[in-house]
């Protein structure tokens, strides 16, 4: 029986102290210990992207990160980020283009798209496709997701958007 480890971590802005089994990965920790169900498990191999969450502001695979590693770090999940308002444009665009169907991949897809907006503001359509290639979607076929992300990229490139 492994020795549990105490961690102090900030989740969606709220600090908490937890006693965790070392083998528990971050998504299982969030879902079971913190009872936050918004990040998901899809493969536990790092391939599908359903588990994508933010670690200190950067996207990571939650299934390939141990809860114990979250000690002293900041974790943000889709709902917390959404409530801050940061994703409003992307969410509106996704909604308008029907870029989500069953919704299972959507948290990971949105967080990945948000990272793209920040890292590659000049991304072409093809580059958008490449960037989201780490997020599997079985429902949409990707076209509408690419449309939605490109629409927001275009919005941000408008001169008037600079002041926003």
């Amino acid at each position: 029986m492994a020795k549990s480890v105490q961690i102090v971590t900030r989740i969606n802005g709220v600090e908490g102290t937890y006693q965790v089994d070392p083998r528990l990965h971050l998504v299982d920790f969030l879902r079971e210990e913190v009872e936050l169900k918004t990040s998901r498990v899809g493969c536990e191999q790092g391939v599908c992207g359903a588990c994508t969450v933010r670690l200190d502001g950067e996207i990571i695979r939650g299934c390939l990160f141990l809860a114990v590693q979250a000690d002293g770090r900041e974790i943000d999940t889709i709902d917390g980020i959404s409530d801050q308002g940061e994703l409003r444009e992307l969410q509106q665009s996704f909604h308008d283009h029907n870029a989500a169907q069953c919704g299972y991949c959507t948290p990971g897809m949105l967080l990945t798209a948000a990272a793209l907006l920040r890292e590659k503001p000049q991304a072409t359509r093809e580059q958008v496709r490449e960037y989201i290639s780490g997020n599997y979607c079985r429902c949409t076929g990707y076209h509408s997701i690419v449309d939605a992300v490109c629409e927001v990229l275009e919005l941000h490139r408008q001169p008037s958007a600079k002041s926003a």
Binding site: A2, P22, G46, I59, Q69, T112, E130
Partner: protein, 286 residues
């Protein structure tokens, strides 16, 4: 699947890590980026008793341009390499390869050192380090020893590192200013492990290849340097004829194994095609 049970420790100094390695040997695994290790554990393909989290060891971090070489610490994340202006300037080969390393979320956690130490035959950094004449620094109970990349990769998932040693970083010597770089790989899907890939460098002088390096991934248990081809192209200009000759020479160099989707024959053919394209890219970037 859920990982099997293991204990966890997070030392904050290299000495402590080495002491733990010496104490636990094969029962312990180093947790750096975890992108390979944790997937392996999730599938219960490995059942270590202890994970040694090295992410607090500051000495392993950082990218730095020194006098005559670039230093990349073992804990440098793939994404840091991808975003680094220092790497862009001094080792553009790594910049070409970086977008092929998984996907951004993986790159944010996965480490350079982890990729080198794991030595997957289809990984990108190993072939790049061989092509760049990189030298790895290994720390052990006896101190630090340096191993050239060309001597580091021994067999499938097997490196020169002893079980009580740790990779602390890598020196990449600055290349002559007229060096050209090319990295290409063929993968069924962007970000997948490639079927075959080539990391290449050469000084193009007067349109001729000089001092070329051609290193293949996915074509054997380790990065494979095509010395015969390098010698063949030395001093010669790019031409379709040269590529044909190079492909013939390649047959003696590579003995690929079949994978799920490609026979050895197919892989050999693809390696030849890719090599031709890489030679062309080198010649055209002059």
């Amino acid at each position: 699947m859920k990982a099997p049970s293991f204990d966890y420790v997070k030392p904050d100094s290299l000495d402590d890590v080495l002491a733990l390695l010496a104490q636990h040997g094969d029962d312990a695994r180093i947790l750096a980026g975890g992108q390979t290790l944790l997937a392996t554990l999730n599938m219960r393909l490995s059942e270590p008793e202890l994970l040694i989290d090295i992410n607090a060891v500051e000495a392993l971090k950082g990218i730095e341009a020194k006098d005559d070489h670039l230093w990349i610490g073992a804990l440098v994340r793939h994404s840091q390499i991808e975003d680094s202006p220092v790497v862009a300037q001094h080792a553009p080969l790594l910049m070409q390869a970086a977008p092929h390393v998984g996907h951004r979320a993986i790159r944010n956690q996965g480490t350079f050192g982890g990729s080198i130490a794991f030595a997957d035959p289809a990984a990108e950094w190993p072939v790049c380090t061989v092509a760049l004449d990189a030298v790895f620094h290994l720390a052990g109970s006896q101190g630090v020893r340096k191993v050239p990349a060309a001597e580091f990769f021994l067999d499938l998932y097997t490196t020169e590192m002893a079980s009580d040693e740790m990779l602390i970083g890598c020196e990449i010597p600055f290349s002559p200013p007229d060096t050209k770089y090319a990295f290409q790989e063929l993968a069924r899907r962007h970000g997948d492990y490639a079927i075959v890939g080539v990391a290449a460098t050469a000084q193009m002088r007067g349109g001729a290849f000089n001092n070329a390096r051609l290193v293949f991934l996915g074509m054997g248990n380790t990065p494979i340097r095509a010395l015969d081809v390098e010698q063949l192209v030395e001093g010669k200009a790019f031409s379709d004829d040269l590529v044909s000759q190079a492909k013939q020479a390649l047959v003696g160099v590579l003995q690929p194994s079949a994978d799920l989707y490609s026979s050895a024959n197919t892989k050999m053919h693809l390696a030849g095609v890719l090599m031709g394209r890489v030679l062309k890219q080198l010649a055209e970037s002059a």
